[in-house]
Amino acid sequence: MEFMFSEDQRLLQETVRDFLAGECPVEFVRGQWETETGRSPEFWSKLAEIGIPGLLVPEEYGGLGMSEIDAVLVFVEVGRAALAEPVVPTAAVAAPLIRESGNTALAERWLPPIAAGEALVAVAQPTSPLVPEAHVADLLILRAEDGLHAVPRDAVRLTAQPSNDPSQRLFTVDWKPRNEDRIASGAQADRLELAALDRGALACAAQQIGTCERLIAMSVDYTSQRRQFGVPIGSFQAVKHHLANLKVALEYARSHVERAAHSVAHDVPCRSVDVSMAKISAGEAALQAAEVSLQVHGALGYTWEQDLHVWMRRAWTLDLAWGETAWHRARLAGALFDEERPAESFGFTPRVG
């Protein structure tokens, strides 16, 4: 029992943090809002240079061959930087899905270009008809009645669905399943789809942790500088207690997220419940941080010019991605109340007795 990250894992996190602080400042994020696709192939190449798209791609396909336990800290940094390039669908979901499909031809065709930063993949979420970043994807992983399909972009028709978060582009997809695109059917398709959902939700939850941390940091900075009644407003207990509450929510959500990373990496029986708890708690921490941060920034935070809403909108967006809070709450409650035996508590190991 050692519930902590290794020095190497922390080092990777710091490396990514420093990289994003330099290459993905808020000016870059806001600049992308104005471009036609919202996405930057140049920036994606830089991400590929430090290995991010290939984090979960096995080494024999040119990736880093890491696990979700390594990757979860990277996604915290993605959230901190409000980086909205399609790292979740491509790196966190599609790469392991292709690896686990057992389809060697598919893996040989797609994993090397994913790791090299030369291919983007969009993935349909079982919980929503909206597919983010489908317009820049080379491949779409879509679900049909007969199974999962890996479909080239030119075989689908996309309809843009403008989103409240200018950092993302959403689409609905019209397509006809073709036998030659099917990569899994029956129980295998269900299994892959569930694993994809859990991986996507985990990566979002980690980003929500980073988003929450950033919002707290911005609010502490602002309330320590802004003076009213002759003192910094952060010296008032009403403001302190708001931010202390965020810190409590953040730290307990973090424990769930780090445990869920372990559960996904080791594919434990309670994996899905653990992921739902991570997504619920991190999502709520981030949403609460968005509201409280806006409140303590006062009218200034209510302007388009102030950067606060970059992260506020990320908090809103991430809450809806890969299963909104209500969906995960329903899944958790189902595991507790509708199964013959409720889910097992951590530590109370069932192996004894």
Partner: protein
Amino acid sequence: MDLSYTPEQEAFRKEARAWLEANVPKERLPSFDTREGFDAHCAWEKKLHAGGFAMVPWPVEYGGRGADLLEWLIFEEEYYRAGAPGRVNQNGIFLLGPTIMEVGTPEQKARFLPKMASSEEVWAQGWSEPNAGSDMANIQATAIRDGDDYVLNGQKTWASRGAFAHWLFGMFRSDPESTRHRGLTFILVPLDTPGITVRPIEKLNHKKAFAEIFFDDARVPVRYQLGEEGKGWDVAMATAGFERGLMLRSPARFQDTARRLVDLYRKTVASGQPVAPGLRDTVARCWMDAEAYALNTYQTVSRLLAGGKIGAESSLNKIFWSELDVRMHETALKLLGHRAELLPGAPAAGDVGEWLDGYIFALAGPIYAGTNEIQRNIIAERILGMPRK
């Protein structure tokens, strides 16, 4: 990251489980806030001690088992799983004990720890005074040196089980010219010392174990001073850190409550009794938060075993468990519907369990061990770095 137990840890769990199953009283003991219950709980502690399980993480020479904190967590899980009695000497064994281990002299360790481990001596804490509650540095009780003694005067209050305890620990102003947190000395006081009057206070639960304690020229030998003279504040901070941080409220306690709550929800729904629709979600949330507290504690213990320390983040724990405990109990009362107000003996009560009693106890959580408002100030100032003024 490794979330599995070693074969040795599994074996220890099995051993603890077997012992507890064989020895935990079948009938629930009377409340340790009554004389009869206090004595019954002390007898249970002696049994636990004889079985070698009273103080799992303490060194063997002081009546412990020499185990590490992970084994302590395992033991706590088994303890709550077995429905074993509350720890009557919790202020001693979980708060003062670790502090003596850290700052006590070898003589003090040998004198106090073994009798604490066996609960032959039960401890009360004397933190609060009438004018020193949240403002703990405003202590007015004095300890003036006179030869080899301190002469104590003043008043302490809100001492849990102070009516029955044998010893008290607390801070006294040893430098009468001092103010605030300077000039305080941490002193261990036998409650049968002449000049000490213990007056019980009836608590919200209708029991009289709580006490205020008056000192009227009570003489205590200087060898009962813990840590240096005038450095009592630092000693107290270490104790408070344990209290909020780790030992006082282990996660198993809340996971156990959460599982009973899930069970109550399932039974209530199965009985056909109407249940407010939001409660399904609230119960799930309670269970999830109890899990979060357990996960977070395992992370803290992993960090401690790797050489880390507990600091101001213990304030996060204290807020989290105390507010979770209130929420779990109030949710249970909602599930009990009209029976929620009935005492367990009432003919119409049925299987209401201990939820009402638990609720009234839980309501004290956000107040004792430093109010949650004080904890939020600590988080804002010491963890987030917000301005004091």
